[in-house]
């Protein structure tokens, strides 16, 4: 048994310890918002936060999590930065097929937490690890910018 803390709740799973967090989230625990894209940390579709840091869950074995706290896309509407990012995504119609967008939002949220007012160049660089085959990059950049400005305008963290 491995014990992991997902979105504030402790779960026990009986998968082998080398199992990536991605497949544990999806197959054992039903957190299907985190997506499989490549299995090699190349595309970012599986991005989650581990102790606040963006992590590729497809190459992170559950044995490496220990007592660290995992946050997935399913908890982002309860996170004021995550919620602002989601709102910007919806408002600008970023998603096409939408498959990669959970990972994009997790990366963008981590980016804005580390750097609340990123420049255009910093946004592009910060998001370049997340692939989108539909090609939504210009809207992703605009949505990160929008979320950043909303958060700056409303530092109390009330919903945008």
């Amino acid at each position: 048994m491995t014990t992991i803390n997902i979105n504030g709740q402790v779960h026990e799973v009986d998968f082998s310890p080398d199992t990536p967090l991605l497949w544990t989230l999806r197959d054992a625990l039903g957190f299907t918002g985190t997506k499989f894209g490549c299995g090699m940390a190349l595309c970012g579709a599986c991005t989650v936060h581990v102790d606040g840091q963006p992590v590729r869950s497809c190459v992170t074995p559950i044995s490496a999590i220990g007592t660290k706290r995992v946050r997935t896309i399913e908890s982002m509407d309860a996170d004021h930065v995550g919620r602002a990012v989601q709102d910007a995504w919806v408002e600008l119609g970023v998603a096409q097929c939408g498959y990669c967008q959970a990972g994009q939002i997790m990366t963008a949220t981590a980016l804005l937490k580390a750097n609340p007012k990123p420049s255009d160049e910093q946004i592009v660089a910060g998001m370049s690890g997340n692939l989108c085959r539909c090609g939504t990059y210009t809207r992703i950049n605009a949505a990160v910018k929008l979320a950043s400005s909303r958060l700056a305008a409303n530092k109390t963290g009330a919903k945008a």
């Binding site: 997506k35 894209g37 299995g39 097929c97 498959y99 939504t136 809207r139």
Partner: protein
């Protein structure tokens, strides 16, 4: 583009698609020089009516109203990112005067007998279903009005449906849609000639661009259900080791170690199929486990032995030379002799004589190359199947649900009526998810597991190595310029394995639907125009990739026009307009195009006026001719595809090291009526990125019959930092009196030639072989 295009050539019964031979005999029969009479077939059906599933416009199929006023509208086509799951119900809601905030969308299962065509490839959703969905909505509106009029005992003409209620203005009475729900649905469905469609100025949602995709919030919260997200009680997980060479077979497998992996339950040998690829699974060894990771680990521990078969020597570098030999003008090399000489698909005037007679200094020739490409949708192929009481139930992301259902039924030996296919969201498709091989695999593995629910997961290397690839092509262009720099002859020789080979063993040369994609139907005012198609064999499964043969054809045609303009010392935009000539409507059959995207030549003539307008608009908005910083260049290209007109201007910046960035792209699109302008923009933006991606990076290569790439490190797709910083979409036209064109695919074809034309303008380097990669830094 697709089996249905092949099929609809002469409307054979759908099931013959699976038998294939008969269907392809027809397509090959049309492969020769097409007579103009061919297009004048009596009673020929076009558009949605010509699709195997046809169109359905019965409001009782698509609309239901609950007592609380909730209007439920069926989205019969699956969502893969174009927005149809929102846009088509939005059309219904608008025509029926439903309040969008009270509309609920439900996703249909695969059932073309009930819903009409559900095939979402070929950019046909709005093209084929705008009119039927308007009729559905208008019928529902009439039925609501009739129910209210009956209740009030007033003539129906005195009442009017407006924003979720019916109003009798004379008496001031109102009834909500909820109040009328049951009575309205008992009203007779109006006949077509009784329908009053809304005037476009009365639209609430259509053309406004205010309705965002229905799934946006669920997607942003990770709640939307894609194929990969299906979960059933007791579900098992499977992956398959497939033959590494196309046509290969499993000789034997040692599964001892695989079965020792914790969580692995069973190893199952799957047989492959002889004959054409169709949508058949390719066989191999399935590993079934209690979770996906265990299945993957089990597969890694298998020791399979493969018999590689006839394609084990496929080498894409050598094959390129074969293609180049096949398009050589008058050479009789040993290689060329192996392949049958190119067939003339169009021959206006005498281009060969004009080229033979021309002096060397006025002759221009160029060859363009595009390698195989993989679709690489972010969601890899995946499907879940189970059997209950001898019936099979499937959940899958499918672009061609009815074909998938029938293909599955064939493989598991059930009647198609005993197979249910639930449609999930598609995590991208781009043509790949029209092929049902992965769906049949899920059903076969579930069947082998006594019907237990099984999710069959493809990994990324499965996806990259077992795709139905975009064809590989060499396009040779030759022309002669007169003293004023105008071409007097145009010769286009094309060599590319045909998609038809996926359906018929031995099929070679372009099918009419391939020739009809920006090769045969060029409207240039040149006295002699000749298109030849060389017969070359496939060595892998060839499929349709977003915009299909338009990609290599538009790349060659639109690059070559710019090359001719340069030779003639003319501005490439002016030169392109001059070749197109004055505004006129052309019957595609007069260009030897018998296909025209299977649309009526009367309803959808090729309109050079619309071509000119998109070129002029894109150029104007991009400020064509403006002074640019050093190292920057503008390139323009236009393509008519899926009966839509698109012109693209790319601004490129090339630094001293040959690194390419794209500050800006301007796209003008005329797709006829703009039903959901916001989603048209998103498709244009995405099409630009995909076009740049394939131009800069896209290549699948083969050695010893094996695909050499396996994941995003070696099959790269465009990342954020390489994408254009700004993409501007400019809408042209938009009249609802014009029939709708496609949107999903048309933005792609002009991108690669516009980019390479821009690179030429910036640097003087002409790129004729894709991908571009680091060609400029090597120069």
């Amino acid at each position: 583009m697709t089996r249905t295009d092949l099929e609809t050539l002469e409307q054979p019964a759908r099931r013959r698609m699976l038998q294939a031979g008969a269907v392809f005999a027809l397509s090959l029969q049309f492969g020769g020089l097409v007579s103009k009479a061919a297009a004048a077939e009596v009673g020929k059906k076009y558009g949605g009516a010509a699709m195997p599933g046809g169109v359905v416009d019965d409001p009782l199929v698509f609309v239901s109203i609950a007592r609380d006023g909730t209007v439920t509208i069926v989205a019969h086509r699956a969502e893969m990112g174009t927005g149809v799951r929102t846009s088509l119900p939005m059309v219904v809601a608008d025509e029926m005067e439903a309040d969008w905030s009270r509309v609920k969308i439900v996703q249909a299962d695969a059932n073309e007998a009930r819903y009409g065509s559900q095939n979402v490839d070929g950019s046909r959703s709005m093209r084929h279903f705008l009119a039927p969905m308007r009729r559905v909505g208008a019928s529902a509106r009439h039925m609501l009005e009739a129910a209210a009029a009956a209740q009030w005992k007033v003539p129906a003409a005195e009442v009017q449906a407006r924003n979720h209620e019916v109003i009798h203005a004379a008496s001031g009475r109102r009834l909500s849609y909820g109040d009328l729900a049951e009575a309205a649905m008992r009203q007779p469905v109006p006949k077509g000639d009784q329908l009053r469609l809304k005037q476009p100025d009365a639209f609430r949602y259509i053309g406004k661009g205010r309705i965002m995709p229905a799934d946006s919030r669920d997607i942003a919260q990770g709640k939307a259900t894609y194929g990969i997200d299906v979960r059933l009680p007791g579900m098992l997980y499977a992956v398959i080791a497939r033959p590494p060479v196309h046509g290969g077979k499993l000789r034997k497998v040692d599964s001892t170690d695989a079965l020792k992996v914790p969580g692995v339950l069973r190893v199952i040998e799957l047989k492959g199929f002889d004959g054409p690829p169709l949508f058949n699974p390719v066989g191999g060894v399935a590993v079934v486990a209690t979770n996906t990771w265990a299945a993957m680990q089990g597969r890694a521990a298998l020791k399979p032995e493969w018999a590689d078969g006839a394609n084990s020597s496929y080498d894409s570098t050598a094959f390129r030379r074969t293609l180049e030999a096949a398009v050589q003008a008058f050479r009789r090399t040993l290689e060329a002799a192996v392949h049958r000489p190119g067939k003339a698909l169009r021959n206006d005037g005498d281009a060969v004589a004009a080229l033979s007679a021309a002096g060397g200094q006025r002759k221009v020739s160029a060859e363009y190359y595009i390698p195989h490409l993989a679709h690489a949708s972010m969601e890899t192929p995946v499907a879940t199947a189970r059997f209950i009481d001898g019936k099979c139930e499937i959940w899958a992301p499918s672009q061609a649900p009815q074909g998938a259902l029938e293909s599955v039924a064939k493989h598991i030996g059930l009647d198609a009526r005993d197979v249910t296919l639930h449609l999930t969201l598609l995590g991208g498709g781009f043509g790949r998810k029209s092929m049902a091989d992965f769906i049949s695999e899920a059903a076969l593995v579930s069947k082998a597991m006594d019907g237990k629910p099984v999710k069959l997961q493809w990994t990324r290397d499965d996806d990259i190595r077992h795709d139905y690839y975009h064809t590989v092509s060499v396009e040779r262009m030759e022309s002669v310029l007169d003293a004023r720099g105008k071409p007097t002859a145009w010769l286009h020789r094309s060599a590319a394995p045909t998609i038809a080979s996926t359906f018929q063993v031995g099929a070679q040369g372009k099918a009419p639907f391939e020739a009809g994609m920006t090769a045969i139907n060029i409207p240039f005012q040149i006295p002699s125009i000749r298109l030849e198609s060389a017969d070359v064999p496939p060595h892998t499964r060839i499929g349709w990739f977003r915009s299909v043969s338009n990609i290599p054809h538009a790349f060659a045609v639109q690059s070559f026009v710019a090359e001719l303009a340069h030779q003639a010392r003319r501005d490439p935009k002016d030169y392109l307009l001059e070749l197109i000539g004055p505004p006129r409507k052309i019957d595609p059959a007069t260009l030897s195009d018998s296909w025209n995207y299977n649309e009526s030549p009367d309803v959808y003539p090729l309109d050079t006026g619309r071509m000119r307008r998109v070129i002029e608009e894109a150029a104007r908005k991009a400020n064509w001719g403006r002074k640019l910083p050093k190292g920057h260049g503008l390139g323009i290209a236009m393509a008519y595809s899926f009966v839509t007109y698109v012109a693209t201007v790319v601004e490129v910046a090339v630094d001293a090291k040959g690194q390419i960035t794209i500050p800006r792209v301007d796209v003008a699109i005329d797709c006829g009526p703009q039903v959901n302008p916001e989603r048209i923009r998103s498709q244009v933006e995405g099409g630009c990125v995909m076009g740049i991606s394939l131009a800069m990076l896209g290549e699948i290569s083969f050695k010893d019959g094996r695909v050499q790439q396996s994941n995003f490190h070696d099959f790269e797709i465009l990342r954020s930092h390489m994408a254009p910083r700004a993409i501007h979409t400019w809408m042209v036209g938009g009249d609802f009196g014009v029939p709708p064109g496609g949107v999903g695919e048309p933005p792609v074809p002009p991108v690669a030639p516009a980019l390479c034309n821009a690179i030429f303008a910036a640097t003087g380097a002409r790129i004729r072989s894709l991908p571009i990669r680091d060609q400029l830094s090597q120069a």
